[in-house]
Structures are given as C-alpha cells and as structure tokens.
C-alpha cells in the first residue's frame, strides 16, 4: 500500500497540490471575509437596540443550528436563481463565509467581553465617546483574545471545506475523487489526502500557539 501511495503521489502530485491550494485559499479567504462580517454581527448582537441584537442572535442560531452541507446546498441552489451567471465556486465561497461568520461573530463577542470591564469604566470616566472607547481601548485588547481563536477557526474551515467536494470545486477531497476515479484505487489517495490535511492542521495549530504566546508576551 505504501508503495502504491508513493507511486500515486509521484504520478498525480500536481492534482493533490492543486487540491491543497484550493483548500487553503478557500479556508483562509472565507475566514478573513467572515471576520469582517463577524465584527458587524458581533456588534449587532451586543447592541442595546433589541431589534438589532435579536436579528444577530437569530442569524447565529440558524447558521450554527443547521448542517454545513445543507447550507452549501442551499446557497449553491439559491444563488444562481438570483444571479444566473454566478459560478459554483463563488456560491460555495459565499456559503463558507456565511457559515464561518456566525462562529467568528461569537469568537469576536467573547473576545470583547473578556476585556476587563474596568477598562471601559476608566475610559468612560475620562469622558471618551463610546466609539473611541471601542476603537482605542476595548478592541486593541480584545484582538489578543480573538486572533488565536481565528487561527483555530481556519483549522476548522480546512476540514469543513472537504464538504464542498460534493460540488466538485477542486479542493483536496475533490482531488481524491479525481485520482480515485482514474486509478480505481481508493484507500491510497484517501490516505495521501488525509496526511496532507494532518500536515496542514498540525502546522497551523503550532503557528496559532506561537502567535498566542507572542501576543501575551507584552502584557500581564
């Protein structure tokens, strides 16, 4: 089997590498876009305006309470009805961003709420406006809680993108399907893809850990 794996990898290496590339960019881009969207959802959820915070809560509940695969199907089917020219990959990317945004919003909210309330009180007592307090006092401290958790979210996304192979969009699991259908060997390409996933996630979690330690070095 190991011999077969080496043979397959040397023959179809470029297919796997292309799959790796698609998996990485899909995960990173979707988490980055989700982070931007997530900030607004988190702020909405913490808002004192009831309507706004209920809408945000609802959004988070719906996204976290339904399967990712269902969401992928939903956007893949629904978006082309509104935008006929939209490509599969854009539909999938949007679905991934929407899915990640709900989780990222909770990460951001938790990060903001973990900042010592005394920090806000001090800033309030100095007569700073709500907006400045958020931008200059709370957020710079919250980001130290948020960034490592975002790293973890990228790791989760790397694994989640495998579901997108249902739509044959070229990430790692699609690479597996391609190689499997040409060679009629299943376990070997599957193991190769598994090793690539493992390499990705282990490397990333190490990096996340280092980032976390560096961010904390300055304080406390």
């Amino acid at each position: 089997m190991i011999k077969n794996m080496i043979a397959i990898f040397s023959r179809y290496g470029s297919v796997f590498m292309l799959g790796l590339w698609h998996t990485v960019w899909l995960s990173v881009v979707s988490v980055l876009l989700a982070a931007i969207l997530g900030i607004f959802i988190a702020l909405a959820k913490m808002s004192k305006f009831r309507v706004l915070s209920s809408i945000a809560s609802c959004y988070i509940e719906v996204i976290r309470g339904t399967p990712m695969l269902l969401q992928l199907y939903f956007f893949w089917l629904a978006l082309p009805k509104v935008f006929p020219d939209i490509s599969d990959i854009v539909c999938i990317l949007i679905a991934l961003v929407v899915n990640a945004s709900a989780y990222v919003a909770e990460i951001i909210r938790a990060g903001i709420q973990a900042v010592d309330p005394g920090q806000r009180e001090a800033a309030v007592s100095l007569g700073m406006t709500e907006q400045k307090i958020m931008r200059r006092i709370i957020f710079p401290q919250a980001i130290k809680n948020i960034l490592p958790a975002l790293g973890n979210e990228v790791i989760v996304m790397i694994k989640q993108t495998s579901l997108a192979s249902t739509f044959f969009i070229g990430e790692l699991m699609t690479a597996y399907k391609k190689v499997q259908s040409t060679t009629f060997l299943a376990l070997e390409p599957l193991s190769i893809v598994g090793l690539i996933y493992l390499f990705l996630t282990v490397t990333l979690s190490r990096l996340t850990r280092r980032l976390e330690l560096r961010l904390r070095a300055n304080e406390r």
């Binding site: 010592d116 005394g118 920090q119 009180e121 001090a122 800033a123 309030v124 007592s125 100095l126 007569g127 700073m128 406006t129 400045k132 200059r136 006092i137 710079p140 401290q141 300055n218 304080e219 406390r220």
Partner: protein, 250 residues
C-alpha cells in the same frame, strides 16, 4: 433646576438599588470647592456606589446629582460625557490601559477627545510623569510597573484633563502595604494644591490627617458627618464606634 452655589458636586436624596436590594436609601450631601471629603464605612454600605453615581458611572434610581449647577441625572448619555471630563476618577484596581505605554495612557483621552493636540498632550504628560517621579518610565507598558506606580499613573491620567474634582474609589486597597505610602503622598500633594477630592478609603490615618470632612456610611445612609475630630473623637453612633474599633485594631 439649577443653582450655582459654592459646591462642586451636590447629591440630593440619591437612591440606587440592585435587584431589589436598596444600596443607597436617599443620600444628601455636597462637596465645596477645594474641600477634601473622606467616605468611610463597612463594605457593602454603599460608599463605592455613591462615588460611582457622582460621575454617572452608575445611573441612580432616584434623586439628583448636581455638578456645578447642572443636574446630571436629567442629561442624556451623550451630554454627560462633557461633564465626566471635569470629574476625574481613580479606581481600586487602577484600570490603566495595558496595551498603551505610560505616556500614551495619559495622552489618549485628551487627544481622542479633541481637547489637546498630541504635542501639547505629550508635553503635559511628561510634566505629570515628572511630578510623580515616573518620567523614566514613560515608554514602559504597565506590566513593567509596580502596583503603586500604576496607581500613580492612573491619578495623573485623570489630572491631565484638569478636572474640577477627583474621586478616589479605595485607591490603596489593592496595593501591597509598602506601596500605599507613595500613592497617599501623591494624594496629599494633590489635596495641598487645592484640588477638590472625594475619597472612599479604609486608611484612617490619611482620613484624619488630610480630610476637611469625614462621612460615615452605614447601610445606604450617611450616619455621621463632620470634621475628622468630630467623627473620630466624638463619635455619636454606636455603629460608627464599633466600625472604628474594628478597623483601628485590625
């Protein structure tokens, strides 16, 4: 309602409750310009809440808080911001900003509030750091400062706003004993410079030596009020006598 007396802050029939528990039961008093007032009392008596109502960090449930003739309880949140800039506050746990250097801790509020340019704010901040003996620490982050240094930094962070009154909420309670003195010294100097000061504290020596007036609070009310001699040496209520005995013998 507006009356401009000699007072800086006047509190009228102030009431506050948390979850049905009455913490302030109608407190009345005023602080005159240049006066140093100490608020004493057992924990949970409402003294910190009273202080925090004075700059509307806590919203009172009843009564009024006048600041130089303006009823703060009648204002919208956006309007209160202007007045808070004139009311400095120092917290038990310092609440210095950990992501900013000592200098930036002092300059951030006046600069972000658009009250001073960055250059002038830095000049003033340097002079203030000089005054508390921390000029050489200007570029240090608060992690590198001791508790006493952090609290002194927190005091000048408020002073740069040139407040009309300074509120101190147990400023030495979280400090190691050997650092209490350096913070009290800064407060003493501040009092001598004519600043109007309200302090919630357990430092009886400081209260006796520096205050013009002492308030003893118990269970949401002011039980005793007078000069340090009146309150400490001619204590009228058994509750206050009991409290002083415990604190002084501790």
């Amino acid at each position: 309602m507006s009356d401009k007396g000699n007072y800086v802050i006047k509190v009228q029939d102030l009431r506050k409750e948390y979850n049905g528990l009455q913490v302030l039961k109608g407190v009345d008093f005023e602080i005159d310009r240049g006066e140093v007032v100490t608020i004493l009392g057992p924990s949970g008596c409402g003294k910190s809440t009273l202080l925090r109502c004075m700059n509307m960090l806590e919203k009172p449930d009843g009564g009024n808080v006048f600041f130089e003739g303006t009823d703060l309880t009648a204002l919208k949140p956006a309007q209160i911001i202007q007045y808070r800039r004139k009311i400095g506050m120092v917290f038990q746990h310092f609440n210095v900003f950990p992501h900013l250097t000592a200098l930036e801790n002092i300059t951030i509020a006046p600069v972000e509030n658009g009250m001073l340019t960055k250059e002038i704010a830095e000049q003033k901040a340097l002079a203030l750091l000089e005054r508390i003996g921390l000029a050489d620490k200007k570029d240090e982050y608060p992690t590198r400062l001791s508790g006493g240094q952090k609290q002194r930094l927190a005091i000048v962070r408020s002073l740069i706003m040139e407040p009309d009154v300074m509120l101190f909420d147990e400023p030495t309670s979280a400090l190691d004993p050997e650092m209490v003195m350096e913070v009290l010294d800064v407060m003493r100097e501040l009092a001598a410079s004519g600043m109007t000061i309200v302090v919630v504290t357990h430092e009886m020596g400081f209260a006796r030596e520096v205050s013009d007036r002492v308030l003893f609070m118990y269970d949401g009310n002011i039980l005793e009020e007078g000069t340090p001699e009146e309150v400490f040496d001619h204590t009228r209520t058994e509750r206050a006598r009991d409290f002083f005995r415990k604190v002084i013998n501790a």
